[in-house]
Symmetry: D2
Subunit: 465 residues, 4 copies
Amino acid sequence: MCGIVGIYNHAEASNLAYLCLYAMQHRGQESGGIVTSEDGTFHQYREMGLINDIFTRDVLTKLPGNIAIGHVRYSTSGDSSLKNAYPFVIKYAHGWLAVAHNGNLTNYKKLRSELEKEGSIFQATVDSEVVMHLLAKGGAAPLEERLIKALQRIKGSYSFVFLYEDGLIAARDPKGFRPLVIGELQHNGQKTHVVVSETCALDLIGAKLVREIEPGEIVILEKGTVRNIKPFTPAKKRAQCIFEYIYFARPDSNVFGRDVYVMRTGFGRALAREHPVKADIVVPVPDSGVPAAIGYSEESGIPFQMGLIRNHYVGRTFIEPKKEIRHFGVKIKLNPVRGVLEGKRVVCVDDSIVRGTTSQKIVKMLKDSGAKEVHMRISAPPTVWPCFYGIDTPTREELIASSKSVEEIREFIGADSLAYLSQESLYWFEKTSPREWFCDACFTGDYPEELDDMPEIEKMAKKTS
Amino acid sequence: MCGIVGIYNHAEASNLAYLCLYAMQHRGQESGGIVTSEDGTFHQYREMGLINDIFTRDVLTKLPGNIAIGHVRYSTSGDSSLKNAYPFVIKYAHGWLAVAHNGNLTNYKKLRSELEKEGSIFQATVDSEVVMHLLAKGGAAPLEERLIKALQRIKGSYSFVFLYEDGLIAARDPKGFRPLVIGELQHNGQKTHVVVSETCALDLIGAKLVREIEPGEIVILEKGTVRNIKPFTPAKKRAQCIFEYIYFARPDSNVFGRDVYVMRTGFGRALAREHPVKADIVVPVPDSGVPAAIGYSEESGIPFQMGLIRNHYVGRTFIEPKKEIRHFGVKIKLNPVRGVLEGKRVVCVDDSIVRGTTSQKIVKMLKDSGAKEVHMRISAPPTVWPCFYGIDTPTREELIASSKSVEEIREFIGADSLAYLSQESLYWFEKTSPREWFCDACFTGDYPEELDDMPEIEKMAKKTS
Amino acid sequence: MCGIVGIYNHAEASNLAYLCLYAMQHRGQESGGIVTSEDGTFHQYREMGLINDIFTRDVLTKLPGNIAIGHVRYSTSGDSSLKNAYPFVIKYAHGWLAVAHNGNLTNYKKLRSELEKEGSIFQATVDSEVVMHLLAKGGAAPLEERLIKALQRIKGSYSFVFLYEDGLIAARDPKGFRPLVIGELQHNGQKTHVVVSETCALDLIGAKLVREIEPGEIVILEKGTVRNIKPFTPAKKRAQCIFEYIYFARPDSNVFGRDVYVMRTGFGRALAREHPVKADIVVPVPDSGVPAAIGYSEESGIPFQMGLIRNHYVGRTFIEPKKEIRHFGVKIKLNPVRGVLEGKRVVCVDDSIVRGTTSQKIVKMLKDSGAKEVHMRISAPPTVWPCFYGIDTPTREELIASSKSVEEIREFIGADSLAYLSQESLYWFEKTSPREWFCDACFTGDYPEELDDMPEIEKMAKKTS
Amino acid sequence: MCGIVGIYNHAEASNLAYLCLYAMQHRGQESGGIVTSEDGTFHQYREMGLINDIFTRDVLTKLPGNIAIGHVRYSTSGDSSLKNAYPFVIKYAHGWLAVAHNGNLTNYKKLRSELEKEGSIFQATVDSEVVMHLLAKGGAAPLEERLIKALQRIKGSYSFVFLYEDGLIAARDPKGFRPLVIGELQHNGQKTHVVVSETCALDLIGAKLVREIEPGEIVILEKGTVRNIKPFTPAKKRAQCIFEYIYFARPDSNVFGRDVYVMRTGFGRALAREHPVKADIVVPVPDSGVPAAIGYSEESGIPFQMGLIRNHYVGRTFIEPKKEIRHFGVKIKLNPVRGVLEGKRVVCVDDSIVRGTTSQKIVKMLKDSGAKEVHMRISAPPTVWPCFYGIDTPTREELIASSKSVEEIREFIGADSLAYLSQESLYWFEKTSPREWFCDACFTGDYPEELDDMPEIEKMAKKTS
């Protein structure tokens, strides 16, 4: 889970990158960084923490230059260190080079092992480091050529933004797992190009969306011109991440050509049609469950109420109280509104159930606040398989739906009823965006890209699906 | 604007105080502090910033003791310094004493000037310092007696929690401007008393609401017993702050005996009845406008949509971009959802208009995203008069409604229509909570408590109202 | 132990105050602070830590104004908090007032108790707070009058610098316990007055020493003029702190009219005359023992060698290693030079023995490095009585010389011989500075100023001496 | 300029490494770091700043394992960043590997360029990165073999400590430019090996010096045994850095088999014999000039006095005062003692003159304090050539002695006389340590190791010498 940005041709490139990262903070709260090129001289700053805290005015002042790339990152605990913060910067035979990456390479370990055998050394444990090595191995060939060759060797999902001494390159994997768009900004009669993961970042800086970078496309911004290469590899079937719609992207973004908010209300309406229930109110699990709950309410006619209030001051450093204080579960984030819930039959809408423990606490909280019945409705199919294309999910063992039936899960979470959106209903929008264009491996185990580093998972999934 | 807490009789008193302050962070984000008494020895920590950042495990470990009081504070810029952070602690003839205060004394300057003439020195510029001086002037009399005398001299709004070497005292002003409740927690067979500004803090620590501390009541927790004195001054007409319902309190709190969320949806329903409009969607200005918008939608039958998305990562330190980057107004907090707004007639519900500039930007943002019409609906009457009882409002000159008519404001903000809730409709709940019990001076100029420090405002308001 | 500074009439007053505090850092490493007056408006910054770390360029920029006072402070652990950091600032009937104080009031508790009985409240536990209260009690009288009255009530040692809205006042107690001098700086044709504890601070900023502020003198800098009042109380016998010469002041300062370095080499020469010994080298305990060792070497003809090297990187935060690592005593600060010590008879010169444990470790260290004999020579008489006039000493029980004879101490520290400078020899300089002008209560128990807060110590000392 | 440490077989390895780095802080104050191996798992922490500030108890707790290496670093401004902080850690085909390095490779750029041409990427700009690449290129061969090959390709000065998953390796360049010793510590019946740059670090942790690691020797600590390989390359003439004796090492260390303090007093005595002068006192420029001044005093019989006092609180962050305050040169570090200097003919002893500006200020300061004559004596020959073997010196142009005669320098600094130690006298100790064993290129231009990256300097030096 990451958000990336590239700014080409703006006197305040680092400041714009900062704003774009801020708008995409939801895509990664662990670390952030910006690298700029000032006439070929690189300046960089990377830090653990939130964009707001990392980039003070002082720091931004030290990032001059009119080309910039930036990154916000989330990662699993083991790899969480400044060393692995992005953008990743190297010096090689062709000068300085930096990269920001959203996605996950599925043959990283394999390539790394091959490179190590050839004598390469690694200083971080991020998968882009292999891309950098591959780019360096290409001899004296131009960057474009070396890049195409490197991309042909890697597998998995990637939206890349590269910064080199003379320009900026954006590239998206041939299946288009992760979003990447290009926008424009007019400023003092000059045109600035902006590449970002999500359109909400364009909105913030007042840039106009031009178009998606296409799957398998490379866009080169150099010497004031925009060139593109596409496809850099034989065209493949798309595999856009359906989870960007369900949970990950901001509702005010336009992803893969469609408004996320609209997709989510659509999931809610489909859910209401597929799994109706007699109830008094529809209550979302905020914030991500809100649009689906609105959709459910619209379709069912059951009134929508914010029966759970989210505390937005939760930070990274919250101190868990001592054992002497009774365990309070999700209360630190969510608090019920008794006056809304008391005596009511509640449809509670959430976007997914991962381990089941949070849902269990939410059901209990609703009932403790007087809800007569709690009907849990999930605006997606059961999450059964881990993602290897850039969404941080627990192992298969930890995913409750991989070992329990819907009825067993219902019992575990203590709801009066539980229903998931079916695969069929998930694609309510099929007429406009073909179902074949999406990766839904987390629901189906149908992994569209080989998992070289995870052969046993791939085997198991193939057997099952 | 402040939130206060007192914990009596719990081995983890500072930890519980921390959790309560965290739940009341919305009442003050400038500074926070906790003071504990460990068998008569005081420990304290106060810092600028958010509760989450101030109280690390290390800091909490250094706050032992089974009685604690705490404070979160917001203040106007001039007074914003650690020196003025609360709780305020002194040593005097009777030992150590600390106080946390929510409210504002309206004769602070007058009393201070009198005290200075008598030779008192002041080290902070917070109004509770005069209360401390008054408490110290009472000679050898018991704390209760000195407290009653002191409270009889001060005017304005106050909910106090005092910590002294042997116990804890809570007191609420005779008109009950600010909320203050008492709750209980059972723990290892022992009873802990908890005094807080808002019930959402009780919810977080699993405490049960016992009752409001009544206007003009003093509650004394000492030697394991609870005593109260009421009223400590001839009973007066209540003047509960209506703005706690409209904007200030958390929607999941119960304030002055009623659920805030329910009050707000009520305002929205009343607004729909009073100011209906033909429209396609109802869109709140999040987060505070959400319940009223839900109410408006319910009553009008116009679908509720989250057409504006709030970015919750905005922190205190956000760096305004340079002038070279075009001014982006409220975009840093709010972003429109084009797919929801495009081609729609929008009812936009907010809780108040202060200077009008934010509303102006919101209307423009909605229209830029394709809204065909924007009908602004405010879930309260126009804010015409500044508050002197603890809500931070700009001066009268800055309040747009003090000099412009509704039509002029509409024109200024660029809406197709604008309507405020009337005084009549505001009290839709009158049958259960008498209208006379509330202070609505911000709308009416009818200040229920003398403004000794602001004679010219008082005079002007009397003339007008 | 404190250092104070006052700057009058310089556009960069806070910057000069900073430099002076930096030069006097040895007088207090716990906290530091500066308060400035910019046309009557006060600006202040106080922090725990070293001057270097506290005052960044940002902080100094926020301290405009052409009058400033500053303070560095050391204190016993109990009182060590930001609350007690100096300068101490109040607001009272006559406006703003700040004070920096070097010394210790011996009737502080008594006065405080009296003030508390009259209804005064205290927020810190520093003794100047009583002075502020006394100044505030004087009604409408001019500051000078109120100050004289206040000073007549307090006992003990004090060098004060007060900052008020219109100017700066320096005052020194009638017995002159602590040093205080006034200097001048020419700058852009203007004269700046500088008041500091030690002349080394004048040297740093290029100011010229004018003279000592005399015991019992008040100097008033206001409206561009210098006035003085002297004495403000019937003249008393001087009681200048002899320990400033022995240990406390910087060797490059001129204190009480004499160069500290010269005094120290004098102590060393007297020590050599009084307690000669056959030895190969004279080795100081650095840094404070260096001048006395040089004197000892000069007088005795025994070569001076730096046989112990001091590590100057020791900071406040040094982490003591775990028990698993063998205890290394003073090694963290001092390391012996084997090539110098091996096979040698060593005269080791130090300025005092407090508890004896450090000397014990030094003797062991010298012997472990091959010293054949270690003759400890102390450049002062045995420290038998605690100081109540501003030097931080342990209690009488902890002072090894209060319960052990010289021979017993020698045995305890493991030296081959041990000798202290006698009272007679201490005053080798008597012809130029009369012996009667000094306080040597730490050696004699002859406390020159009443100890109202310590009646039992006073009684015991009188009996003994 | 760096200090390095390796600890083998101690439960508190990181704590011991911390103490050793603390003792060697004078070898590098810019950044510090420690890497530990806990059964093959690496833990690391590197930070800008002083050891004291970097390593808190928390940080040390996160560095478990019984093998550790550490580093303190000084560098020229351009390269000063966390990225370049040491120890340098990589992952390669053989697992994890870390290195700490004292010295400077003179063919770094050449090797780097070759490696880049082969496709290697670089992430830092420190010279050890090329060593790591060379180690990785050696295929499947054992570490020892690959190390020998790598060391055979690099030129310049190096004392290395490597940490790998199973053990620790120390290596010293064939000419022995930089010091490196091995010591032992008995602890709970177990033996701990300690490798450090300077013996003062052994002293602090109570370890016993075993011996120097010899030039061209590799020491391998693995599986509880100590093995060594020597020489790993045909034996070469030694080139021990004479500047370690003159200035760089701590006086309480034993370097290249001799006590530094003794060497320095020897330089002073030789200086007195070679350049006597009629004078009243000998005054060192503290701290580094102290032992030489003591030697000068001993030999000449002129009394030694600390006429300049050093302020040890100078930190990295000292704020230069504004221009409005007159420039105060070296005063921030040094202050004269008027009582010592007044009317005296002063021999001022320093260890070197680099640009001449500091000496100029010192002479002025001494004269301003009343010195009648100032005779500057330098305890080394003129510094004419820059060092490329690990001492940070300015360029040849900035070295005053490269363009000015002694008489011209004397005039520039304003001294009454100036004399340097001659090359002959420098080697007063020749009988015990052959002169041929030392590198004195900074004085002679006789660079003992090829400067591949600096061909023009090498050429110029050859012409001159």
